[in-house]
């Protein structure tokens, strides 16, 4: 149970190497071993989506992924979305459209929407709602989040 493995992983463009028990899940690894506490745990059973990260560019639940599975892979977390202190258009849109209240679901919302907007730069409202249907938010009633996603899509299209 306490077997340890060395894990090499690139997170937000930076290479990390750390030891972890084979049973440690990825969220704990990111938070505890790498000190990247921006990824949150809301349920640890794969429903709330707060722990969503991008694993090789695709969303994954870090509470349902073992740390050992990411050895040699690339991850993006909420900490890697902004460019230094310059917010990403999606983050700007969240701020301008009140897409967050307590902000606890936000890491998963942002990573999920990064993928969604990359794959579908001009989504309909319904597509956004379905896209975030695996992410629970108790504060916003989702309206601000959906508005932020649509606004971000517009901003990102204008940039590209």
């Amino acid at each position: 149970m306490t077997e340890m493995r060395k894990i090499s992983v690139k997170v937000n463009g930076k290479a990390y190497e750390a030891e972890a028990e084979v049973r440690m899940h990825l969220a704990d690894f990111l938070r505890q071993k790498l000190g990247l506490t921006g990824t949150h745990l809301g349920c640890e059973h794969g429903v709330c989506g707060a722990c969503t990260i991008l694993l090789d560019g695709r969303t994954a639940r870090s509470c349902l992924t073992l740390a050992v599975q990411v050895d040699g892979h690339e991850i993006m977390t909420i900490e890697g979305i902004a460019d230094g202190d310059t917010l990403h258009p999606l983050q700007e849109a969240f701020r301008d459209n009140h897409g967050l209240q307590c902000g606890f679901c936000t890491p998963g919302m942002l990573t999920t929407l990064i993928e969604l907007l990359r794959d579908n730069p001009d989504p309909t409202e319904e597509e956004v709602r379905i896209g975030i249907s695996g992410n629970l938010c108790r504060c916003t009633g989702y309206q601000g989040i959906v508005a932020a996603a649509l606004d971000a899509a517009k901003r990102m299209r204008a940039l590209s």
Binding site: M1, E21, R23, M24, R31, Q32, G35, L36, T37, G38, T39, H40, L41, G42, C43, E44, H45, V47, C48, A50, T77, I78, E79, I81, A82, L87, Q91, F94, R95, D96, H98, L100, Q101, C102, G103, F104, C105, T106, P107, L110, E126, V128, R129, I130, I132, S133, G134, N135, L136, C137, R138, C139, T140, G141, Y142, Q143, G144, I145, V146
Partner: protein, 782 residues
């Protein structure tokens, strides 16, 4: 500023939130993000039984596990405690049984999830491994699950030592209901069952305690809504002085009520840290949230409405049984607020609600967003719908005939709050608010649409609900406003931020008076070291009380700033303005003095007089006492469509018209209303905290307990009315709970309307598709 003015420089504007940057970049600090040197982690051994005697606990195997530092039971803690119970019950003459919680369960456990022991280990992984090695000799006892059954003679007793399960009994009443019913031309009866689930903040609870042996003091970081109350609890339980305990709320990932209670785990990690001399972290997981964090759950109502032939309500009476859970974690407040909310918006001369509060072997009950008021509203609105239907009056019209008219405001309700304060509805135009909602929702044209839909075999319905919600519960909240010698403005408050934009609200109120630069202000909310007293966050009170305190403190600081600048710049106070970080002479921007210079001047120079005859320090603390509650009001209209084969309810549209007095930040108010409404949709259709007959919880994950997700959320129209309350200097009323209160009642009303071809009466909430389908089938079979 007085309350008749409209939007100011930043007050009344949708300014961006000061909280967002850190939250959006992963730099925020929630309790689980704290890592202290030498920190250990805790896991909690919880009862697997609804009710059992604890004959013995064998810790040997757990203690032998490498990485385990301690396994602590009540017996281990006791020598280190000044008090081994959490004395939290709000005072009330209604109590019949003292059911304050023990520090940990000792010889008897009374609900699944009740904490029994703490394992302290190098990591949470190891601590959880060790939990499995603790051997507890349980002797299962009969458990009582349902609160109605709990009051039947011969019911199993929640606690062996109690005479029965009746923990409290009271009546909320005014006028002569018996006389009214004796002569009323019409009366309408209903039996209702209502259930609300838990708070389910996406961040669970958690606490980190650190005892400092050198300084003999304790710091507790807790994801709580009430840091000052927590501090006092720790003083009481650990036998420390007030100055030895500091409670800090880091960023909090949602509260919604349950986090206002003080919990055993907070006390236990604090005591354990002192015993072991190491910082200790405990983070609740979601299963623990289901079995140990307070919930609202069941109420059974038997109610009756008396009217004349035109639907004027003459009186309302009934009785209610309320599920209290196994312990008192707060008070009788959920049951009291529910009973008091029933008649609130209406001019009804006689009312009597007899309430019995029952102990059950389940998680303790305390307020969840709305605190019983959605249930009270449901009762009133169900009765009005029934009366309207029977008397052949439009449902909006029967309400119009009974709403308190604006001409009668302020209106004294012959009731007292649970704290003994007279209920005085301070302001608002209820009929106008209702009309605004109806117009927006297309109420008048709906019958034609419904007929057309029915002709196509589609079942659509419309429903409505009015509410009046007491907000800003007193007695006070405090705020300190200080301009430091750096020129930065610091604001400290005992109000607790849990995601509802408290820091932005406070900064806006202060910025309005002190330079209008949001960037120049930092707000600390909920750190007992920065302000001596505070009540915390609950009951939609932050803007009302903490906002008022910040406003008053800013005015004092402003006056000092202007007095000093007036002397130095040799200009009359009226000719000065505060812009950004300076006080300037209007029209002569070069004649100015920095806030920092004034702060330095008022910090004093040895042997010299303070400028302008001012008292020391550019700071002020205000703690305005506001006992009367500010009553917000509103109307919800819901439109639904039901698939009669599956019972599936689709909400086409929600309209919410409301009045929360003056609005400080429209964007935030909208967010609170929509978020509350989402919770209300969940209460109507999804959220059910289930227990079986042995009081075993049967919904302990998000597969079994459903929270609303984005696709189910209907489009919402919001309508704001602003009737400033005279009760506070800002004219604001609370808004945090206003979205939730009328939403489920309006949805259930709409469902009943949609199913009117089947003549069904909706008397339960929440209601599932399967239940609706079964009701339709039964009706069709007749």
């Amino acid at each position: 500023m007085n309350s008749s003015e409209t939007a100011g420089l930043v007050f009344g504007q949708s300014v961006k939130r000061v909280e967002d940057f850190d939250l959006l970049t992963g730099r925020a600090r929630f309790v689980d993000d704290l890592k202290l040197p030498g920190m250990l982690e805790a896991a909690v051994l919880r009862s697997p039984h609804g009710h059992a005697a604890i004959r013995g606990i064998d810790k040997t195997a757990a203690l032998a596990m490498p990485g385990v530092h301690a396994v602590l039971t009540l017996e281990d803690f006791r020598p280190h405690l000044a008090n081994d119970r959490l004395i939290v019950a709000l005072p009330s003459p209604a109590w019949k049984i003292d059911a304050n919680r023990p520090f940990l369960a000792g010889k008897e456990t009374v609900h699944v999830g009740e904490p029994i022991a703490l394992v302290i280990a190098d990591s949470r992984y190891i601590a959880e491994d060790a939990l499995a090695l603790i051997e507890v000799d349980f002797d299962p006892l009969p458990a009582i699950s349902d609160c109605k059954a709990a009051l039947e003679p011969g019911a199993p007793k929640t606690h062996l030592a109690n005479p029965n399960n009746l923990v409290a009994e009271f009546e909320v009443a005014y006028g002569d209901a018996a006389a009214v019913f004796a002569s009323a031309p019409h009366s309408f009866k209903l039996s209702l069952w209502q259930h609300r689930g838990g708070g389910h903040s996406i961040e669970c609870r958690g606490a980190v305690a650190s005892w400092n042996e050198m300084e003999q003091n304790l710091t507790l970081w807790s994801s709580t809504q009430t840091p000052h109350a927590g501090m006092r609890m720790l003083v009481d339980i650990l036998g420390l002085d007030d100055g030895q305990v500091r409670v800090i709320t880091p960023d909090v990932g949602g509260g919604f009520g349950p986090k206002l209670c003080f919990y055993q785990e907070e006390a236990a990690v604090a005591a354990a840290s002192r015993m072991l001399g190491r910082p200790i972290k405990w983070i609740e997981d979601r299963r623990e949230h289901f079995t140990s964090t307070t919930q609202e759950r069941d109420q059974y109502w038997e109610v009756e409405l008396a009217t004349d032939g035109e639907g004027h309500v003459l009186g309302l009476r009934g009785n209610m049984i309320h599920d209290h859970g196994a312990w008192t974690a707060r008070g009788i407040n959920v049951a009291y607020e529910a009973s008091q909310a029933v008649t609130m918006p209406y001019d009804i001369a006689a009312y009597s609600m007899k309430v019995r509060v029952a102990l059950t072997n389940k998680v303790p009950v305390s307020p969840v967003r709305g605190a019983g008021q959605p249930q009270g509203v449901f009762v009133m609105e169900r009765l009005l719908d029934k009366a309207a239907r029977t008397l052949g009056i439009d449902r909006a019209e029967i309400r119009r005939r009974n709403l308190i008219p604006a001409s009668k405001m302020p209106f004294t309700k012959p009731m007292k709050t649970r704290g003994g304060i007279q209920v005085l509805l301070d302001s608002g135009d209820y009929p106008k608010c209702q009309q605004a909602a109806l117009d927006k929702a297309g109420w008048d044209g709906f019958r034609a649409r419904q007929q057309a839909a029915l002709a196509e075999g589609r079942y659509i319905g419309i429903g409505m609900a009015n509410f009046v919600k007491g907000t800003g519960r007193g007695p006070f909240e405090g705020a300190t406003v200080r301009i430091g010698t750096s020129g930065k403005i610091q604001v400290h408050t005992g109000a607790a931020a849990m995601g509802q934009s408290t820091k932005t609200m406070m900064a806006q109120v202060v910025a309005e008076q002190l330079g209008a630069d949001m960037e120049n202000i930092t707000v600390t909310a909920g750190d007992t070291a920065t302000i001596g007293f505070g009540m915390g966050g609950y009951n939609s009170r932050q803007a009302v009380l903490a906002g008022s305190a910040a406003h008053l403190a800013s005015l004092v600081v402003r006056k000092k700033l202007l007095a000093v600048a007036s002397e130095v710049l040799e200009a009359a106070v009226d000719d000065l303005e505060i812009v950004g970080s300076d006080v300037r002479v209007k029209g002569v921007p070069d004649m100015k003095m920095g806030l920092r210079d004034i702060a330095k001047a008022l910090a004093g120079t040895p042997g010299f007089r303070l400028p302008a005859g001012q008292s020391p320090a550019l700071e002020a603390t205000e703690q305005p006492v506001i006992d009367g509650m500010a009553y917000a009001n509103g109307t919800a209209v819901a439109e639904v469509e039901i698939d009669i084969e599956t019972g599936l309810v689709e909400i086409h549209h929600l309209t919410l018209a409301h009045d929360c007095g003056r609005i400080i930040n429209p964007m935030i108010v909208d967010g609170q209303m929509v978020g509350g409404a989402a919770h209300g949709v969940g209460n109507a259709l999804f959220e059910w905290m289930g227990y079986d007959e042995n009081a075993q919880p049967i919904t302990t994950n998000y597969g079994e307990y459903l929270l609303i997700s984005a696709p189910e959320m209907p489009p919402i129209d919001l309508i704001h009315q602003e009737s400033p309350t005279p009760l506070n200097p800002l004219g604001v009323k609370g808004v945090g709970e206003c979205g939730v209160v009328p939403t489920a009642p309006a949805i259930i009303s709409a469902i009943e309307d949609a199913l009117s071809p089947f003549g069904l009466s909706m008397t339960r909430v929440p209601i599932t598709p399967a239940e609706i389908a079964a009701m339709i089938e039964e009706a069709q079979a007749k």
